[in-house]
Amino acid sequence: MSNVSTTVLGADEIILNMGPQHPSTHGVLRVKLKLDGERVVGSECIIGYLHRGVEKIAEHRSYQQFAPYVDRMDYVAAVSNGLGYCEAVEKLLGTEAPPRARVVRTILTELQRIASHLLWLGTHALDIGALTPVFYCFREREEILKIFEKYCGARLTTHAFRIGGLQYETYDGFEQEVKRFCDDFSRRIDEYETLLTENRIWVGRTKGVGILTAEDAIAMGVTGPVLRASGVQWDLRRAQPYAAYDQYKFEIPTRTTGDTYDRYVVRMEEMRQSRLICLQAIENIPAGPIMARIGKVLKPPPGEVYHSIEAPKGELGYYIVSDGTTQPYRVRVRPPSFINLQAFDKMARGALIADVVAIIGTIDIVLGEVDR
């Protein structure tokens, strides 16, 4: 692995620090770059600025009390974090959410995926110099956040789900609002595409930049859209279905080159697929209870469980060990951003400094999740 040593430098080499306050590092990521002229010859990511000790906190909270904390990891996809945690604890308890809850969870999680991808698209394009898309992306994201707000009262750190199901019934007109958003959204994605997909500057800045081959991606543990852009057709929603994904038809978009442009195309297509899943799901939300009978005090039998979901950024896993008490003995979060970020060095070597910004953006990291 790269070790950017400051003592051993070639005659033309310099060390450049980027961040932690650099705007295009999307938070507090510091990257130490070793440069030969404009070329990156080595890099090291320095992280931990946002470390809050989430895993330690978990050991001092009850299972329900810890649920809101997970929203603060990947804070642009709080709903997905909550889904993973709730399902992991349910698996530990040996129970399952009722069908109605599972379908509502699926709808909200897919809307969250669209919101997360929109935020990524807007900021990523902004980093590269396309100023326009961010306004459109936030406009559509706002619609999704409004649905969240109406559903559970919060927009960002939603805590939308509870262990065992849902706390709230859907509000009146929920299906219609989701449908209205989805109907409108298909036209919107086309609109973004007219701005970027064949834009010469966009193509020039993203094609061939930050290439990650499928072998490298697997060796580096990369998951999510980054892996699919490298040509591996793997999505946990299909491979090991959870929530209600086994009921819906959707495609897993893949590309072959694994460059920044491919990752862009994959995420755009994923938004379309998420929209289709939402449309299928609202067609038929089963009636019935929204909460499983689990009791007020949760004492899962001793044992351990690993449960993972396809979060917008990749495989988000929870490894929870129970010792039979009301508090988890250990909660380990498998953060997709953290692990995908490790592949940054592979993608950045040989690139120009200006491309580093594109490469950080294309991995789609959230530092709250990297540092936890």
């Binding site: 992280i47 931990g48 697997i218 543990g221 090991q240 044992g303 690993y306 490894y319 060990v321 490790q342």
Partner: protein, 155 residues
């Protein structure tokens, strides 16, 4: 696998439909290699540890593996004592680099053969290993107050 490695594979069990294999920590690297090359577990999903301070060998080192061809998961576990170096699996799965660093950072487990074992989330000069069970979250705060303010902390 039991046949292949004999005593090194201590126990294989199923917990809530998940396959878990307990192995001897000395054989971690060869068993990992075997899992990757023969059992097709090509991706290391996660590497972490659990602290059981009352046990003679206090740490569980836990590897979560995934196989693309088989669409299966496997969990490897090994017991390690506090001062026992664990062999690094970085050569087998490069993703282990940061995961082992985090494990070292949080538990103080030393991975032998790791290219650059140093803290990753905590500052370099940090004392102690936060995720150990005997690491008290209040102690550090009270110590700081005592040292820097000269009073007893009210926490």
């Amino acid at each position: 696998m039991k046949k292949q490695f004999g005593e090194a594979v201590r126990e294989a069990s199923l917990d809530r439909k998940q396959a878990i294999i307990l192995i001897a920590v000395e054989h971690l690297r060869e068993i990992s290699r075997y899992c990757r090359d023969h059992e097709k577990f090509d991706m290391l999903i996660d590497l972490t540890a659990v602290d059981w301070p009352k046990r003679e060998k206090r740490f569980d080192v836990v590897l979560n593996l995934y196989s693309f061809p088989k669409n299966e998961r496997l969990r490897l576990k090994a017991h390690a004592s506090e001062n026992e170096p664990v062999s690094s699996v970085c050569e087998i799965w490069p993703v282990a680099n940061w995961l082992e660093r985090e494990c070292y950072d949080m538990f103080g487990i030393v991975f032998e053969g790791h290219p650059d074992l140093k803290r990753i989330l905590m500052p370099d000069e940090w004392q102690g290993y936060p995720l150990r069970k005997d690491y008290d979250i209040l102690k550090q705060d009270t110590d700081w107050v005592r040292e820097n303010l000269g009073i007893e902390s009210g926490q």
